[in-house]
């Protein structure tokens, strides 16, 4: 299983904090993003944004980053701490 987390504006927009996906069908972050962007217009809007950030196992990653069973992904808007 792959765990996918959403934070801040994305969490609110999707009404989703966390979801689980079967690992088999996905080999990169891009595969997950493509799958999720087909779940509705809000989902589509998030993955369309050039500045959407992604972390794999709590480290910043890219669309090309590989993923495997057990990984934790997180999608979030640009950070605004400090």
């Amino acid at each position: 299983m792959i765990t996918v987390l959403f934070f801040a504006k994305y969490r609110e927009l999707l009404g989703t904090e966390q979801l689980q996906l079967e690992a088999e069908s996905f080999s990169s972050v891009r595969d997950i993003a493509q799958h999720l962007s087909q779940q509705g217009s809000e989902w589509h809007s998030i993955f369309e944004q050039a500045n959407t950030m992604v972390a794999v196992n709590q480290k910043m990653a890219k669309l090309d980053s590989p993923i495997q069973d057990g990984d934790e992904l997180a999608f979030f808007p640009p950070v605004t701490g400090g």
Partner: protein, 164 residues
């Protein structure tokens, strides 16, 4: 190195305690301490129709925030040969005048401590997974990332590339 994400407030006293602990163990090696404190202002925006901030809600990615802050401190300590570095970031609901973030660097000479603190804040602003939501007199809204913050962070990367 001391890194913490917490709901509770902090005070600069912590910096003095932490670095005097270092001195007890290592001797009088610290010649310069620079601290940066970020606070909640009433008006975060400079546009004409200023919205008065009533509260700021700070969300974060537990686990990843701590490891990003540790990474920032480790990199700064190596890059400027610091004696020590401390980073504290608050989460939860904050109000105007509340502290948000504290960064402190100790070094032999002042320029290192100044540079390390600025580096830590610039990278924190663009890499540490915190998000601010403002509650203003006109409603709620997520704070947008500022391009000036990305430019500030980008300078360090450019500098690193030039040095290598």
């Amino acid at each position: 190195m001391f890194v913490r994400v917490q709901k509770e407030d902090f005070s600069l006293k912590l910096v003095e305690e932490r670095f005097s602990e270092y001195t007890k163990l290592q001797g009088a090696k610290i010649g310069a301490i620079v601290t940066f404190t970020g606070l909640v202002r009433e008006f975060q925006h400079t546009s004409e129709d200023q919205e008065e901030v009533q509260a700021l809600i700070l969300e974060h990615y537990p686990g990843m925030t701590e490891s990003v802050l540790e990474q920032i401190a480790q990199t700064a300590i190596k890059k400027w040969q610091l004696n020590d570095m401390l980073i504290i970031h608050r989460v939860g609901t904050l109000f105007p005048t509340d502290n948000i973030v504290l960064v402190a660097a100790a070094s032999a000479h002042r320029q290192d401590a100044f540079d390390a603190c600025q580096y830590a804040m610039d990278i924190l602003k663009t890499s540490a997974p915190f998000w601010k939501k403002e509650q203003t007199n006109k409603g709620e809204r997520w704070v947008d990332a500022k391009s000036s913050d990305y430019n500030a962070a980008g300078q360090w990367i450019t500098q690193d590339l030039q040095e290598n």
